[in-house]
């Protein structure tokens, strides 16, 4: 019999962060697309309807959650007591290994890249890129939010982000960038989910369940 060793890969914090972020982004895509392509509710009186208003409310709610998740994720990357993984985001700097992984993914070679970091080279690029996208969409989102809500906390944040509104060329450009970034998230999710399952099938280590249980099952003696 082969030796199968359970190994804790993800801390509780990372797992919560991952799933709340996944749900928030899903909710943001759905509500965001309604804001971009609203359909008309023809039935009923205007006074009894607040569909766009509520959708925007939900969108901004999850938007702010995403912002906090982002900050939390950066904190974990730097200071997590389980495994501060900021170095792992640079796995791609090992160019030979990156080439190896590309070949492995393209099914040209059957030899997997060395597993030196928490992330493979391409994962490190993808997840680093994702965090950058989250930063951009939070920034553009905060600008749109500040322009539309004039009281409370949002009124405090707006002056801070307003200079970016001017640099980006006005609210219309900000909204356009926000819209384009949404598609980047859609594409990321499709590829990300597929690759998670692909790993699971190829290595049979329980990649998919690891983000729930925190454990991968390594074969061999390490």
């Amino acid at each position: 019999m082969e030796n199968i060793v359970p190994k804790k890969e993800w801390s509780v914090a990372i797992r919560y962060n991952h799933w709340i972020m996944a749900f928030s982004i899903f909710a943001l895509i759905v509500t965001g697309f309604y804001i971009a392509f609203p359909f008309t509710l023809t039935q009923g009186e205007t006074v009894n309807k607040f569909f766009m208003g509520n959708t925007r409310g939900v969108h901004v709610f999850f938007g702010v959650i995403l912002l906090f998740l982002f900050v939390w994720r950066l904190y974990l990357a730097a200071f997590s007591r389980f495994h501060a993984d900021w170095k792992d985001f640079f796995a791609w700097t090992d160019i030979n290994n990156t080439v190896k992984q590309i070949k492995f993914y393209l099914l040209v070679s059957k030899e997997p890249p060395a597993h030196k970091y928490l992330y493979g080279p391409l994962q490190s690029l993808a997840y680093g890129g994702l965090l950058f996208l989250v930063l951009l969409i939070c920034l553009t989102g905060l600008i749109l939010m500040g322009a539309g809500y004039h009281a409370g906390w949002t009124a405090l944040i707006y002056p801070v982000v307003k200079p970016f509104e001017i640099i980006l060329g006005g609210l219309a450009s900000v909204r356009y960038i926000h819209h384009v970034l949404t598609w980047a998230f859609v594409l990321f999710i499709i590829v990300h989910v597929y690759m998670a399952f692909w790993y699971d099938v190829i290595f049979k280590e329980g990649t998919v369940s690891s983000m729930i249980s925190g454990v991968v099952f390594r074969k061999g003696d390490h």
Binding site: E2, P112, G170
Partner: protein, 397 residues
């Protein structure tokens, strides 16, 4: 508790306003002694044009409100209005259509703004003055000589920079717009850009901008007050001058040089169709049922959500109407580069076509999504084939 707090708040605010009022009085007195004497008595001018005392008082209320001041400032606004036509003004025309002058000066019947602008002491205005050629040039020189550092320079129109500015030459000496603007603004007390052309370049600066047109502030590297709009509302120009007269300085400006009292909130924030937006009631196409019911114009291209201006609050033509009230969406004319960033004007922004083709960003992204899914299916199939005999692929540390 709450009551006490609000009483205290009231006291603080009242005290602030009283101090502001004192400053305002001192400043108006100073202006009275410094400004050139009036040509005509203001009350006579109003009477001659058939404006009753009552209409004038009404106008001061509106103006006071528009400037975000409490009612106690109405008499101050009235005094500033009397001084208004004594401010020497040099009005330059650059690359533009004179639409702003037209919008400011023409009306069905005169209201106070129009009278103020009619009687403004224009030392030089290329469209309106009788003088031409050399004589006009002399008027300008005289104004610069008589009121150095005292006059207000109003600029209408963008400044072309390409070919050393030669796309725009004017006057008997064939000066470029750039030269003229630099000469005059350097001697002015302040420069007010009227309209989006002088503020940001506007249509002249729209892609591909062959003449290299830019706004005045950018062309000369100076601070300007930007009364944006295509055309702007006369109120916003008049109000800004009144503010300067009353408080001896410019009103607060936003990051783009626009007075915050007029351009601090978006069209979307004060739009009368806004409840329909939040309800999810949209005009789907021109003339449909929604259009008849006055629903939100977002889906037929309204740019109100991206546009800072007070059009909906003060409206145009003696407050009769404004674009969204008339049934067309806002086109975003108070924003920089709006011909480029707000296009297409009758569709939402994400429907802008890319690179001269037919495709929008959504078409491209949808194509990419389909391609990705197809790629994944192919990859999954190929994986099943290539790795068909694998027992285990070890993930080596």
């Amino acid at each position: 508790m709450a009551h006490q707090k609000s009483a205290q708040y009231d006291r603080v605010v009242r005290k602030q306003y009283r101090e502001l009022m004192d400053r305002c009085k001192v400043n108006l007195d100073r202006m009275d002694s410094e400004l050139p004497p009036p040509v005509e008595d203001f009350q006579d001018v109003l009477k001659d044009r058939g404006v009753s005392r009552r209409s004038f008082i009404k106008w001061t209320s509106i103006m006071t409100g528009a400037l975000m001041l409490p009612p106690m400032f109405k008499p101050m606004v009235a005094r500033a209005a009397e001084q208004f036509s004594r401010v020497p003004v040099v009005w330059l025309h650059m690359a533009e259509c004179t639409g702003c002058s037209e919008a400011l000066l023409r009306t069905s019947y005169p209201n106070i703004d129009d009278i103020l602008l009619d009687t403004i002491s224009l030392e030089y205005h290329e469209t309106l003055m009788a003088a031409a050629g050399d004589q006009a040039e002399q008027c300008l020189e005289k104004a610069l000589h008589d009121f150095p550092g005292k006059f207000v320079c109003v600029v209408e129109g963008a400044i072309p920079l390409a070919m050393g500015g030669k796309y725009l030459t004017l006057g008997p000496k064939g000066k470029t717009g750039l030269q003229l603007a630099r000469e005059v603004t350097s001697k002015a007390a302040m420069t007010i850009c009227i309209g989006s052309c002088s503020a940001f370049g506007n249509v002249q600066a729209a892609k591909p901008n062959p003449t290299g047109a830019v706004g005045v502030g950018q062309a000369l590297g100076i601070e300007t007050v930007n009364i944006a709009g295509c055309p702007p509302n006369p109120n916003n120009f008049v109000g800004t001058i009144l503010h300067c007269l009353m408080f001896g300085g410019l009103p607060a400006l936003d990051g783009l040089g626009r007075p915050v009292w007029a351009y601090g909130k978006r069209i979307h924030d004060y739009c009368e169709r806004r409840p329909h937006y939040d309800a999810g009631e949209f005009v789907e196409e021109w003339g449909d049922d929604g259009a008849k019911k006055g629903w939100c114009l977002y889906k037929v291209g309204c740019k109100g959500p991206y546009t800072f201006a007070n059009c909906g609050r003060i409206r145009f033509n003696d407050a009769i109407s404004w674009p969204i009230m008339a049934g067309h969406g806002c086109i975003g004319c108070t924003e920089p580069n709006f011909w480029d960033t707000m296009a297409p004007l009758e569709k939402p922004i994400q429907d802008a076509t890319i690179g001269g083709g037919e495709a929008t960003v959504d078409h491209i992204a949808m194509g990419l999504t389909v391609a990705t899914v197809a790629g994944i299916a192919a990859h999954a199939g190929a994986t099943a084939w290539v790795h068909r005999d694998d027992k285990d692929t070890a993930n080596k540390e």
